[in-house]
Symmetry: C2
């Protein structure tokens, strides 16, 4: 097996798992669980998790996903997708240095301007969430308005895509970060280009296939 992806699909491993399907990459998934999701991750009979010595030998940060691509080990989900896209080429990959720079820019934008608040929406907004907290959710939604406005402007100017007028790994990376914010339906309603764009991203067969596999995993 040339490409191994470490991580359950109920993790940021969705990012490389989606991309692998977009590119038709033969791959093996090793379902490493996040240790915080286990009652006793250190127990001898605990399933392979991010605190297991066997996995810490792969990624000392103790986070999923990581990949092993024919002996090349790489961490950070958003760096993994950029790497796989560049390696395999095609329409999802950058065509030149400027496209590559813009894809890296949008990826860092998502990680630093949006991810923390998007995760706060996912954690605190749904009334059924064990960590439901309406005030924290509202603060996260409010903080997302500025990045959403910048994204809306870019999507309008870019014809519904972030880079190069086509679906690329930049759309995939940003869409996977903003998926966490989707419980805030009113936020997406305020930014129609963002709403159309994430719907288009999530209607792609590779995304749907990845999510269908994910649903089979224990919650």
């Amino acid at each position: 097996m040339a490409l191994r992806i470490y991580g359950v699909a109920r993790s940021r491993a969705t990012r490389p798992l989606w991309l692998a399907r977009e590119l038709g990459l033969d791959h093996e998934q090793v379902p490493v669980i996040q240790s915080y999701r286990l009652p006793d991750a250190a127990a001898p009979d605990a399933p392979l998790n991010t605190a297991s010595p066997a996995f810490l030998a792969v990624n000392p940060n103790g986070q999923v996903p990581s990949i092993d691509d024919d002996g090349f080990v790489l961490h950070e989900s958003l760096a993994i997708t950029l790497y796989l896209a560049r390696k395999h080429g095609g329409p999802l990959a950058p065509r030149d240095l400027r496209e590559e720079a813009l894809m890296t820019m949008w990826t860092l934008w998502a990680a630093t301007h949006a991810e923390e608040n998007a995760l706060a929406v996912l954690t605190h907004l749904p009334p059924a969430s064990p960590k439901h907290d309406a005030a924290r959710a509202a603060a996260a939604v409010a903080a997302l308005r500025r990045p959403f406005a910048a994204l809306e402007k870019a999507l309008r100017e870019g014809g519904g895509h972030l880079v190069g007028g086509r679906f690329t790994v930049a759309d995939l990376n940003v869409a996977e970060v903003l998926r966490y914010a989707q419980p805030a339906g009113e936020l997406f309603a305020e930014f129609p280009a963002v709403a159309s764009w994430i719907a288009a991203c999530q209607s792609r067969p590779a995304f749907r296939a990845m999510m269908a596999e994910r649903e089979k995993e224990p919650a």
Copy 2:
């Protein structure tokens, strides 16, 4: 002027400003101030700042730095340095796809595993800081031990550098993020490879020249 860098040096603009000096790039700096540092950023006579319409036309995110490289506008400090290194080549740039992937990985690692807590150290640890808060500073230092341990391991395995056994844009990006944590001297003392590495990064003539210019700006 082929390369314009927007942002005062007392901002994340240090990253491209340092890199421009490493590469010997002729550049113009437009000293855009962060709006939160001004008593009234919206006043008609306020200096150019991140809330000024003229700058928001450059970066709708309202953050510095951005660059205009011969008509190509790019945001996100850590994406800018990766782009400029790739464009100009040389020892700071990736030599192949795997080095490029590792440089992107370390950059995302710094932004997502370290920057928030490093900034919390800078803001809350120094007793003279107006936001001094010993408990928050201690929590940030504690949270940085795990990423510092991963970095220590990587630096020991990599001969004191992150990628390719030499100083690259990856070291520059990560060192500029971890500079914020330097008030926590005891943290660096626990991780001697990290301490040696950041001292080596900061002894480079280009870093020292950038910081000397920075010191001339109003605090």
